[in-house]
């Protein structure tokens, strides 16, 4: 549909009509698609807030680029895919598409009920054109052509001089289904992000998790999520096993992770033992529990300056590399007379190289060691401000020293260390493993999947089917005792007519001799 450059006529309606026709033109569709592709680029190059794998990236970027950072932030470059300009592009695209495709569907509906149109006067100008001489009754030839075409599921109309036939309406149907399922897909995505949630939790072997908001380490609800009505299940991590490649060049690569858990699908219900693995989530109603990571939690016990045991249990250390070198802190707020804090590394297979510092050489527990330094003073937990469990707030803490050196010890399981001046004792009892679970609910997922399937089917049909017309016409007056037959096909799609379709029609006609073909507009080599 050609759109005039400017509105024709005056007044608001003329402008509105012109704007609508411009918006729904194919040219606009191409431009909007191009804009969408370009707009998606910065989000892959700049750190993004919503993207899970590195939550600290935006903060770091802003620290490194103090002038550029805030500007990018203001313009939404750290949340590209939820920014107003990105939304503007895809919403415009959806409107444009609907406005473009629906009228096409209406036209399709009409043309599918109407008869195939009359043959153009000059058939020779069409995609494929043949002539033949006919020595039998005209009606007989036309009838044979109609039978042949009907058998090939053409819609056929026979009149006195000609047969007209059309096929491939399914292509437009496919095109329509494809485009409209984009709308449904977007709807499914929207439902998911409005009503769903995503959360992360770390569970140590032996510990439990109940699906309430407060138990999550990180919880990201949608704007309309009812966070008080989460599926009320709970699970206990009984055992976590990890297998690693033990030899060869890929030694240390992860090979299998398995979390054995006990699930209570409903409070007070029967418990059930299940295995959660990577790519094999646990499903509880609409909620899915995915295993996304793992690491170590050294089990320690701490006695304070009074000699009382003030802490016993596992402490999660965060892995920092592929061999599970892990960093962490131990906070003992109940210690008297002063609170205690420890900071350091856990190494499953320790190597303490003075050059590169402490690190693990292999992810499994071949030579586990806990390396700690100690602090005394105020941990800063009393004011209620949230604090990272992986970091000490050192503003009111003093490092424990021996002489001029910071106090530091490397412990194997079973070993203890006593702080100078009897400030406390820490014992490294054993090692537990922990699992990271990602827990998600997405109520729009089924809609999105259905839309995706429809999209693929519609697309395949619209690209595979060729809509085309065939006309066959026999002249009134015989020349030299024979009538002349003209046949032509016309493709309504960019792909051109089906090769040899016309020839097979002609071959099926009685008493018909080909009388030379016109070369097709673009002769192929070979």
């Amino acid at each position: 549909m050609a759109v005039p450059r400017r509105p024709t006529g005056g007044g608001a309606t003329a402008w509105a009509r012109w704007a609508w026709r411009t918006l729904t033109s194919m040219r606009t569709a191409v431009l909007l698609l191009l804009a969408l592709a370009l707009a998606a680029v910065p989000g892959s190059l700049l750190p993004q807030r919503g993207v899970a794998f590195d939550p600290g990236a935006v903060t770091r970027f802003n620290r490194d680029n103090p002038t550029l950072g805030p500007w990018l932030d203001r313009l939404g470059f750290f949340e590209v895919y939820s920014s107003p300009w990105f939304a503007a592009i895809y919403l415009l695209l959806m409107v444009s598409m609907t406005g473009c495709v629906l009228p096409r569907a209406a036209r399709l509906w009409e043309s599918a009920r109407a008869e195939p149109p009359r043959a153009p006067t000059n058939l020779a100008r069409l995609d494929d054109h043949r002539r033949a001489t006919v020595t039998v009754e005209r009606a007989q030839v036309l009838q044979a052509a109609a039978v042949h075409l009907r058998a090939r599921r053409f819609r056929v109309v026979v009149d006195e001089h000609s047969v007209r036939a059309e096929k491939g309406y399914l292509r437009e149907v496919g095109n329509l289904v494809f485009h409209l399922s984009l709308l449904v897909l977007l709807f499914g995505v929207a439902i998911g992000s409005l009503f769903g949630f995503e959360g992360r939790v770390i569970v140590v072997e032996g510990a439990s998790f109940t699906n309430t908001r407060l138990q999550y380490d990180e919880f990201t609800p949608g704007p309309l999520t009812d966070a008080e009505a989460l599926t009320p299940f709970s699970l206990t991590l009984d055992d976590f096993t990890a297998e690693f490649e033990t030899s060869g060049p890929q030694r240390g690569s992860a090979r299998d992770f398995q979390a054995d858990v006990t699930v209570l699908r409903t409070p007070g219900g029967a418990s059930e033992a299940v295995t959660v693995k990577v790519n094999h989530p646990l499903r509880v109603e609409g909620t899915k529990v995915f295993l996304t990571g793992n690491g170590y939690a050294p089990v320690v016990s701490v006695r304070d300056g009074r000699g009382q045991t003030v802490f016993t249990g596992p402490v999660v250390f965060a892995p920092v590399d592929g061999n599970l070198s892990s960093e962490g802190v131990i906070k003992i707020p109940d210690a008297q007379p002063t609170q205690l804090g420890f900071e350091g590394f856990f190494l499953p297979t320790a190597s303490i190289d003075p050059q590169v510092g402490p690190r693990s050489l292999y992810p499994d527990l071949l030579d586990p060691q806990l390396l700690l330094t100690a602090y005394t003073g105020d941990l800063g937990l009393a004011d209620g401000a949230p604090q990272s469990v992986f970091r000490l707030d050192k503003s009111d803490l003093t490092q424990v020293m021996t002489g001029d050196e910071p106090f530091a010890r490397a412990l194997a399981p079973g070993e203890s260390m006593t702080l100078p001046d009897g400030q406390g004792t820490l014992t490294f009892e054993s090692v537990s493993r922990f699992a990271n679970f990602q827990i998600a609910q997405d109520p729009g997922k089924e809609t999105a999947l259905a839309a995706a399937v429809a999209l693929l089917l519609g697309l395949t049909v619209s690209l595979a089917v060729r809509r085309r017309r065939i006309w066959i016409r026999v002249t009134d007056t015989p020349t030299g005792g024979a009538f002349t037959l003209e046949a032509a096909t016309y493709a309504l799609t960019r792909r051109g007519p089906v090769p040899d379709e016309l020839s097979s029609v002609l071959a099926a006609l009685p008493g018909t001799e080909p009388a030379g073909t016109d070369p097709s507009p673009h002769d192929r080599e070979d």
Partner: protein, 323 residues
């Protein structure tokens, strides 16, 4: 056969394939250089061959369409090149299969394997097209790309055969990556045809009306190249769509969300949108032809970047594939 032997065999086969690909490419290049000679030079050549050869070929018909059709003797290098390509393909295929057997899994679990499989798909697509479309002029370019990529694969990207990290251990990996590889192979044919189409269009525009000389002038007609490109893209686009959707299903199963704008997902989306723009442009007045061609090349660039750039330069969930 024990696994290390199979892995070794796979490596040898890939090396041999590279050598034969290089030969095939040189043969195509030789042919292209010969065809780029002026028509006058060439017709002298044809006559000389026709007179001297044992089976005198008939005089070239006056039909203008036939002028660009080389005489049988002149086409011999082309046949040799096609045979070499087929041979290299068979070696390459055997290499990829041996790798899969050595690791007892689908042979596309890291960048090295992905490269060998994707280049295999590109050659396969080319050979399939060669049977039914006039695509031999694409040969030199596609083989150059394949040889270069395989060369990089065995030198820079090489990873010994081994098991997969747990995240990749899923049958959705097999499906998703297989679809991506097939789409990539056919997109490669599409991109090569589009690039030659753009060259040919430029030459046509420059020498309007005159018989065009030089390399571009000896290429198939612009319309033919455009049709080849369009056919390739029409086939590859739904396959790519399927690859993206299968990837989303896999992501849902392993990370708990089907779409998270991870860089790899983002570039798959960009590729998809650019090719959608290309398909629209093909039905849009004012965009058909050259502009649409650039959109298709942009789509291919995004596809390549997703594979090379995103794996190597951008950190994301997908970057565990192992270089």
């Amino acid at each position: 056969m024990p696994t290390p032997l199979l892995a070794e065999l796979s490596d040898r086969l890939i090396y041999s394939a590279i050598a034969v690909y290089a030969l095939a490419m040189l043969t195509y290049a030789y042919q292209a250089a010969r065809r780029s000679q002026s028509p006058a030079q060439r017709s002298r050549l044809v006559e000389a061959v026709a007179v001297g050869g044992p089976s005198a070929s008939p005089a070239p018909p006056p039909n203008p369409a036939a002028v660009s059709r080389p005489a049988p003797a002149a086409r011999r290098p082309e046949r040799i090149a096609a045979a070499l390509t087929t041979l290299a393909f068979v070696l390459h295929l055997a290499g990829v299969l041996a790798r899969g057997l050595a690791a007892s899994r689908a042979p596309w679990g890291n960048m090295y394997e992905f490269t060998t499989a994707a280049t295999l798909a590109a050659t396969a697509a080319y050979l399939v097209f060669l049977r039914r479309q006039p695509v031999r002029d694409l040969g030199v370019w596609i083989l150059a790309l394949v040889t270069l990529s395989l060369g990089l694969a065995v030198t820079v990207l090489y990873t010994p055969a081994g098991d997969l990290v747990p995240a990749l251990n899923s049958y959705w990996l097999v499906i998703h990556v297989a679809a991506a590889i097939i789409a990539g192979g056919v997109f490669t044919v599409g991109a090569a045809a589009t690039a030659l189409y753009l060259l040919r269009r430029r030459a046509d525009a420059r020498d309007a009306g005159v018989a065009v000389a030089g390399y571009a002038g000896r290429l198939p007609a612009a319309r033919t190249l455009e049709d080849i490109a369009h056919t390739a893209h029409l086939f590859a686009f739904p396959v790519w769509t399927f690859a993206v959707l299968a990837g989303a299903i896999w992501a849902e199963d392993s990370w708990g969300r089907y779409w998270g704008w991870d860089p790899k997902e983002t570039w798959a989306f960009i590729t998809w949108v650019l090719y959608a723009a290309y398909l629209h442009a093909q039905s849009t007045a004012g965009w058909r032809g050259t502009k649409a061609g650039w959109l298709a090349l942009a789509g291919y660039a995004a596809f390549l970047f997703n594979f090379v750039g995103v794996n190597l330069f951008i950190n994301g969930l997908h970057s565990y594939a192992g270089v």
